[in-house]
């Protein structure tokens, strides 16, 4: 085993903020281990991506066979397994996209290592890699020591500082891997949900609604408010389970983890699982008719009122104040 750290990137995502975060985490970890940073890109990356990754990594390997053009679980797993085996790393880092979530455990099993998920910090103690992550639905924080090498970890990548350029340019190599001809699963349709306006992950202001909103129609009011605030609209799991908003709008432990400058929680009780998704928000405020609602324990300011009475005058006032 080497002391190197491999990062797994997907050409279809480009070198986005998630990729930058993975690379940043990997550079720090590689420094602690005394190893190099090897980037593996699956799919056919464009030149901009290759040069951006080559500026921060020590080596770049890309796997651009036509079968790997689009994500298919079994093919990408086979490809990453071979690429990682060749590099024989101490750690393999992935991001927080669907593919990374899907592949981490199986890749770890095939490399004889330990999988771990949703890492928010990585440290090395007496040669062993430790991963910090939340536990018990956000009520606790745990540090796991990974006993088998390599550590295969997907990270809450946006929370890590992007990697600094090395000043040099990494060697870039194209590798051919053996892929199975028949695969038992195939993604046949990728449905992209229309998001009106700004995405949850990119938005500086986010408005979230919970079970207390009471219906799909009432989310329309939140959208009007969001428009005035130049905000994206999200929801708690309860509101998604009711079918009022699509699952892709879910904020929380098993939904999106967001980091806006301001989060406005409306008719959200504030269960730990939801709060976990907003723990990186700079400021939190809430509208709730229950003064004892948990959400106020995480809010910098709040208003105790029925949201239905608050939203129409709030829209008017914000229009005046921000115009």
């Amino acid at each position: 085993m080497s002391n190197n750290v491999v990062i797994c990137l997907f050409a279809s995502s480009g070198y986005d903020r998630v990729g930058q975060g993975i690379a940043g985490a990997a550079r720090v970890l590689a420094g602690q281990l005394g190893g190099a940073l090897n980037a593996v890109i699956v799919g056919a990356p464009d030149e901009a991506m290759v040069s951006a990754v080559a500026a921060v990594a020590d080596t770049v390997t890309f796997l651009d066979q036509p079968e790997l053009a689009d994500y298919q679980p079994e093919l990408y797993l086979a490809a990453l397994q071979q690429a990682c085996k060749q590099l024989d790393p101490a750690a393999v880092l992935l991001g927080s996209d669907t593919a990374s979530l899907e592949l981490t455990a199986r890749l770890a099993a095939r490399l004889g290592g330990t999988p771990m998920s949703d890492g928010t910090a990585l440290t090395v103690t007496e040669g062993a890699i430790r991963v910090t992550r939340s536990a018990y639905g956000g009520k606790a924080e745990a540090v796991f020591e990974l006993k088998k090498s390599p550590a295969v970890v997907w990270l809450r990548a946006r929370g890590f500082e992007p990697a600094e350029p090395t000043g040099g340019a990494a060697s870039v190599e194209r590798t051919i891997v053996e892929l199975p001809e028949l695969v038992p699963t195939r993604i046949t349709d990728r449905h992209v949900e229309e998001t009106e306006g700004i995405s949850l992950e990119e938005a500086q202001v986010v408005v979230g609604g919970g079970r207390g909103i009471g219906g799909a129609g009432a989310f329309g009011q939140l959208k009007q408010l969001a428009e005035v605030m130049n905000a994206a609209v999200g929801a708690s799991r309860a509101a998604c389970d009711e079918g009022w908003v699509p699952p892709s709008a879910q904020i929380g432990q098993t939904g999106k983890k967001i980091a806006p400058e301001l989060y406005l929680a409306i008719a959200i009780s504030g269960a730990a699982q939801h709060v976990l998704g907003i723990s990186d928000a700079k400021a939190v405020c809430a509208i709730n008719n229950d003064p004892d609602a948990q959400i106020f324990r995480h809010s910098h300011f709040g208003i105790v009122e029925d949201y239905r009475k608050v939203i129409p005058p709030l829209i008017e006032r914000l229009r005046d104040l921000t115009s």
Partner: protein, 263 residues
């Protein structure tokens, strides 16, 4: 379709944060007066399995690896109309790691029968590590599709709908396959009917010990070395006013301040 659903019993995740304590010796949550419940994503998995069986025929087997108390989860699964259940009993010691759980579940699955579909929850409401499904797929040598929220029979296999960050994927899968299940509007667990609760006590529930399955314990792949409750120092300032308008005005001004700073 013969469907296996793996289910985990956990400490009630809805225990409010103010009642949450850590057992420092065992590095896990204190049981205290909290209830043990079925992990919600396991119940979403069971619901998805039951709907698939009801639409296309076959059988649903619920399997758990837990303490004796985990029988409650399986009895409830039977009451939700699972056809049979099996429990691998472990002692009340520290929780086993994900690979041990996967090995035990794989050994039990092989003992039960050849399943066409194995369904597991995407993660548990306690540790939430979410790696058991993938490790189990590798133990059983099965392909895997993660974050599925709906399954229908298609020729020779299944058409799966899975959630993604951008919306959803449609995935065609040949059986046998393992899927991890996430929640959606369509798989909210059903409430058992009283008649089915009575019937559940007469349905077959097999139990094994870990030894009986012959699973070799070869050390943990991961260990919790620290568990803490993060300190939060947020004090909420409630806006005040004699009328609703005054309160809304104060609230709007606070919001506008933050937004103004964003430029």
């Amino acid at each position: 379709m013969r469907i296996l659903v793996c289910m985990k019993q956990i400490l009630d995740p809805d225990v409010p944060a103010r009642d949450f304590r850590i057992d420092g010796r065992r590095n896990e949550a204190e049981r205290a007066s909290a209830n043990l419940v079925a992990n919600i994503f396991c119940e979403n998995a069971l619901e998805t399995a039951l709907q698939l069986r009801d639409a296309s025929g076959g059988s649903v087997t619920a399997l758990s690896f837990g303490t004796e108390e985990a029988e409650d989860v399986l009895r409830k699964a039977l009451a939700m109309t699972a056809d049979e259940a099996a429990l691998v009993i472990r002692s009340d010691g520290p929780a086993p790691d994900a690979l041990t759980v996967a090995k035990v579940l794989a050994a039990a699955a092989r003992k039960l029968c050849d399943f066409d579909v194995v369904m597991v929850g995407r993660e548990s409401g306690d540790w939430g590590v979410g790696q058991t499904g993938g490790l189990l797929a590798e133990e059983l040598g099965l392909p895997m599709v993660a974050l599925v929220d709906g399954a229908e029979l298609a020729d020779g296999g299944l058409t799966l709908r899975r959630q993604t960050g951008y919306g959803f994927d449609v995935v065609e899968a040949q059986a046998p396959v393992l899927v991890t299940i996430t929640n959606c509007e369509g798989n909210v667990p059903r409430i058992p009917k009283t008649r089915d609760v009575m019937k559940a006590h007469r349905k077959p529930l097999t139990t094994w010990s870990v030894d009986e399955l012959g699973v070799a314990a070869d050390g943990k792949i991961a260990e919790v070395v620290e568990l803490t409750v993060p300190e939060k120092h947020v004090t909420c300032e409630f806006v005040e006013g004699d009328s609703l308008d005054e309160k809304v005005d104060a609230f709007a001004r606070r919001i506008a301040d933050v937004m103004g700073a964003l430029g």
